[in-house]
Amino acid sequence: MRAKLVTSLAVALLVLLAGLWLVHPPASRANGERDEEKGGHAHVPAPLEYADVHVPLSVWTDPAMIALGKEIYATRCAVCHGDAGDGKGPAGLALPLKPPDFRNKDGVAEMRDNYWFWRVSEGGQVEPFKGKGSAMPPWKGQLAVEERWAVMAYQHTFSGHQGPHVTWEHPESVAVGRDIYAMACVMCHGVEGKGDGSVGPMLSRRRAPQPRDFTSAEFKFRSTPSGHLPTTADLLRTVTEGVRSAGGPMTIGLRGHRIMPSFGHMPKEQRLEVIEYVKSLNRGFWERPGIKTVAVPAPPPFTPERLARGRQLYADAECSACHGERGRGDGPSAPTLKDNRNLPIAAADLTKPERFKNGGRPEDVYRTLMTGLAGTPMPSYADSLEPDQAWDLVFYVLSLSRGGRTAQAGTR
């Protein structure tokens, strides 16, 4: 009797699971279905090359820019989008993908400035809009950046919104990211993103690393110069890879001993959504004049000479003061190291590149050397090392683990 019941339950469960799987396989896009219903203008995250393009706040309300935008709009956009911005221009009526109605406050509010700029720049030549039959031409070759900003500012006036079009004025534009943040990030990074979630103090008691304060200007993992905010690609790399750390359980099988999980299984669109929300917590992302990044040149071939030069650089730059002669993080200064919150911080054990917080691949180590880790004693060597020298040092650092096999493998 009992066996029959168990068997019946098991079969019922299997049927239910199979049904669920067939009826609704996992989707990979955030909020996509709802946007589909709105006419195909899915407000997907802007791709990385546009993600950092944030319109200066003053542009949205500058009368001169709005006037310039009006002029451009009349000659280039109104034919499809309509004089009143209602999407009913004479040429737009026959298009398979109807132009959006800029008077729709809700629709406009959901568009982030970088999305908007991407759409104006690339038009309908990119996915997912190309596949939906968008006929919008790309304007990046015909309009300067400021002109594209101007036309956006004018289009923005149709919605009736008076202030700058920014995420903190339109929380609905980061609703997806905020939901993910509330689900996955708030416990460590806190409600306001100040790195003061309840998990932090227990995670690593009064020691670094602590959860990042997104409202400050200091981000450790960057490709930008010391003291600058990171790029969206930097944030994406951190969200995807997580943060590795020293310590952890006595066990086998762990590789990076992450202290922040890898969200690599989260669809990229959703990772970008949560990053847009994180950026909305820090107006510095809108106020920075331009973005410089530290280029990572292709690694030169590994040679014993380079390794020898790297060893010499390691000594000259006094890396051993913190990292120790053999790179084990046991240099004479190591016990006294503190971060900018005055919390004790360990020097990285260079013999374990799989645990490097900023990544253990050669290009990661290069980037760390040239940008430093903001808020920690690890400085940037961008002013003191030439790229070639930096690679020498990278080879030496990676040679400290596994008899140098890492360094050689990294050049292949």
Partner: protein, 469 residues
């Protein structure tokens, strides 16, 4: 004399334990599946922090980042061997030495690890996971033929269940849904949202979502001690969640001990639990559980009221109706069970405050019996209450200090019942995140009563290891 003996015992235990632990390697399953340190999910193992609670609630998945394909994805990415090993975990828990003092006797006793558990757990699909404990107890206490015995036992442990996210099913019924990292949530972005509903079925202990979660305790319950077929000493457990009544029976044979863990701290019972989190503020839970000859139905809610800076605060309430879950004693002979099964109604509130390195949680639970035979009305107190409050303080990266106060206002047979008050303090040292050595002292704050297994002790000191996951 006492302290000299104690220190000798403690040092010896440390030495023995260290040697013993070094011979084997812990295998924390979830840590390995996600390449994470233990402290990401635990304040210190085994107690969950808020991220761990969320991880558990979402069916052992990193929130918003379920592995596409689940088990198949793991097999493809990691291969079968790593997938298998990553699905397993081992836990050894036990007080290796015990020192008990009463006015009458001083007793020193060796006790081997009392619990060895093999966990098999992992997500099978983004919306489905399973969790099974296989347990070996070298000194399990069993009741047979009217007597208590100590013998080795193996079998299913406290919990063995699957967890299924029913979000898709609710969506198929017409509710709006959102895809969050391969998992389906009900609701709309920026509006109403619901995690789950999650169905947890099998052998379950549904208290993980309660403000006082009892199934991952930093201060582990002590063992029941038996002698000559009878109960010698009752264990020290969170009294709020105990059965609380003297003189009742589980069935037609076995007594229900006053410290037996029932409903919201059950040692795992067949049942099903549905829970869902609404707008990240309210967690609702309903379910049913088998208990003895009857079954429990319950509803609980947790309200996450404050999340500001490093301060969080939540409160919970539970109501439980246990239908026929205990048996009244025979009105003519109180030492034997009667024919009448009783209902038990349980109300409880709990709260949890977390601030910096401090974690305070407590529960107050009232029980009342219904269906008592008229002949027993004068002999039985139908109400009982339990209070448990615990404070954990992470005093050092490697040291968690804990203290718990348990108060029992017992019910049941008036000529047998005793109230109890116990204060426990514990220091737990984590040389690794998954290995803890602990020293614990429990003090009976009430008067010594020789014939009462609840109070026939003054002080209990334990030195042990919790080799954890």
């Amino acid at each position: 004399m006492f302290w000299r003996s104690f220190v000798s015992v403690a040092l010896t235990a440390m030495l023995v334990t260290t040697v013993d632990v070094g011979a084997a390697i812990a295998v924390p399953a979830f840590a390995r599946q996600y390449d994470l340190q233990c402290n990401v999910c635990h304040t210190r193992p085994p107690r969950l922090n808020r991220f761990g609670e969320q991880f558990h609630m979402m069916g052992f998945q990193i929130p918003s980042a379920a592995r596409p394909g689940g088990l198949v994805g793991s097999l493809k990415d990691d291969g079968p061997v790593k997938t298998l090993i990553d699905s397993l975990a081992l836990r050894i828990e036990g007080g290796l030495f015990e020192y008990t003092e009463s006015p009458r006797e001083t007793e020193t006793k060796f006790a081997p690890p009392d619990e060895i558990t093999l966990f098999v757990a992992r997500p099978l699909l983004p919306d489905l996971s399973f969790f099974v404990e296989l347990e070996g107890e070298p000194r399990a206490v069993v009741f047979e033929k009217g007597r208590y015995f100590t013998k080795g036992e193996t079998g299913l442990g406290k919990e063995a269940f699957f967890m299924l996210n029913l979000g898709r099913l609710v969506g198929a019924l017409g509710a709006p849904t959102m895809e969050m990292g391969g998992q389906t949530m009900v609701g709309t972005h920026g509006g109403f949202s619901m995690h789950g509903p999650m169905l947890m079925a099998g052998k379950v202990d549904p208290n993980t979502n309660f403000s006082y979660a009892t199934n991952r305790q930093l201060i582990a319950p002590t063992e029941l001690e038996v002698k000559h077929g009878a109960v010698e000493r009752l264990p020290v457990v969170p009294y709020a969640f105990a059965s609380k009544f003297f003189g009742l029976f589980k069935n037609r044979d076995e007594p229900q001990l006053v410290t037996d863990q029932v409903m919201y701290n059950t040692p795992g019972a067949p049942g099903a639990d549905l829970h869902a989190m609404f707008n990240d503020v309210v967690l609702g839970q309903i379910g049913f559980l088998r208990e003895n000859e009857g079954f429990d139905t319950y509803a609980a809610a947790r309200f996450d009221l404050l999340d500001r800076g490093e301060l969080t605060f939540n409160v919970s309430a539970v109501v439980n109706w246990g239908f026929g879950v205990v048996r009244a004693p025979d009105p003519e002979d109180h030492d034997h069970p009667g024919d009448k099964r009783l209902d038990r109604v349980r109300y409880g509130v709990a709260a949890n405050v977390r601030w910096k390195e401090l974690d305070i949680y407590g529960a107050l639970i009232w029980d009342r019996l219904y269906g008592l035979p008229g002949e027993l009305r004068g002999d039985v107190d139908r109400t009982a209450t339990g209070l448990t409050v615990q404070v954990d303080y992470l005093a050092h990266e490697l040291v968690m200090l804990s203290s718990r106060f348990d108060q029992l206002w017992a019910g049941g047979l008036k000529n047998e019942k005793r109230d109890g008050s116990v204060l426990s303090v514990q220091a737990k040292f984590y040389p690794w995140q998954n290995v803890a050595f602990f020293i614990r002292d429990s003090v009976n704050l009430r008067g010594f009563v020789e014939e009462s297994p609840l109070r026939n002790w003054r002080n209990q000191v334990f030195v042990g290891v919790d080799w954890d996951f």
